[in-house]
């Protein structure tokens, strides 16, 4: 099935990007407010919290929550402008 193949490709990609040390979901949650604010300001760089970025690429649940929080922050700065 096409869907299985597409998902397998994603899995292979994620296996390739796996690191020995990765942050866990609880640690990401602790950092998410700080990270999201930086992202909203356009300040995410490779050097800034790369482990957070790495986890978000591997973990769809955390990524969804990050994107949702980012949407709120962007709406707030849109209101101020």
């Amino acid at each position: 099935m096409q869907q299985s193949d597409g998902m397998l490709k994603k899995l292979l990609h994620h296996i390739g990007k796996t690191e020995a040390h990765e942050l866990e979901c609880d640690e990401i949650f602790e950092l998410l407010d700080e990270y999201s604010e930086a992202a909203a300001r356009g300040q995410i760089t490779e050097q800034f919290l790369p482990l957070v970025q790495q986890h978000l690429e591997q973990c769809q649940c955390c990524c969804e929550e990050y994107e949702a929080l980012l949407s709120i922050l962007k709406s707030e700065s849109a209101q101020l402008n």
């Binding site: 994620h14 296996i15 979901c25 949650f29 407010d33 769809q60």
Partner: protein
């Protein structure tokens, strides 16, 4: 706007009693309610009949959590961002739960004659040579998964990575915390990566075989 307080003022007002606290809670509730529609655009339309009820429930639960966890706020962000992080977690967790509530993990993984409910087959539109290469690679991947991973890891990995079930929902069904399942899957990915490297297979090579 309701959120004109500094972080210190939020904390001070919420730790006080009486009117100061009530006003702060009311303003904080307004912050949560204002933000959630933006957070949930991919999940639930704000015109959905259940939307208002969900927002209200999440706002209430968020305020309770905030009050009981005030001491954990470390001031590395705006207080309102920290609060909204909690609200987003609560709202999306509930929406995921509802979306997947009728999906049984066992049923998802149990399709006769398949690898945990997947077909994992070569692209039927590919030519014979490419199809053979793809089939061999898929067989190799399948063997790696079966040989390297525990049964728990196999089930979780296939459910999350092939069937697309949210990790949080798989964790719930496997009676594990979200964190514990992430660690289990991380270990699984590490094992597969190591084994693939030992066998001289790179994931790029496998991916390239499916691009043709």
């Amino acid at each position: 706007m309701a959120n004109k307080r500094t972080n210190s003022e939020w904390l001070s007002d919420l730790r006080s009693e009486g009117l100061e606290k009530d006003d702060a809670l009311q303003d904080l509730r307004a912050v949560i309610v204002r933000g959630l529609p933006f957070a949930l655009t991919k999940w639930l339309s704000s015109s959905d009949p259940h939307f208002a009820e969900l927002v209200e429930e999440v706002a209430q639960e968020t305020l309770l959590r905030v009050l009981s966890h005030l001491d954990t706020f470390q001031g590395r962000s705006q207080f309102t961002t920290w609060v909204q992080k909690i609200a987003v977690r609560l709202a999306i967790t509930e929406l995921r739960r509802k979306r997947w509530q009728d999906t049984s993990l066992d049923e998802l993984l149990e399709v006769e004659g398949s690898f945990f409910g997947t077909r994992l087959m070569a692209d039927p539109a590919a030519g014979p040579e490419v199809a053979t290469e793809q089939s061999e690679l898929l067989a190799q991947m399948r063997r790696l998964i079966e040989e390297e991973l525990t049964e728990k890891q196999q089930k979780a990995m296939i459910a999350v990575r092939i069937h697309g079930m949210p990790m949080v929902e798989v964790a719930r069904r496997m009676d594990m915390t979200r964190n514990a399942l992430y660690k289990l899957l991380h270990d699984a990915r590490l094992r597969l990566k190591k084994r693939m490297e030992e066998q001289g297979i790179s994931s790029e090579d496998v991916l390239a075989a499916f691009e043709n």
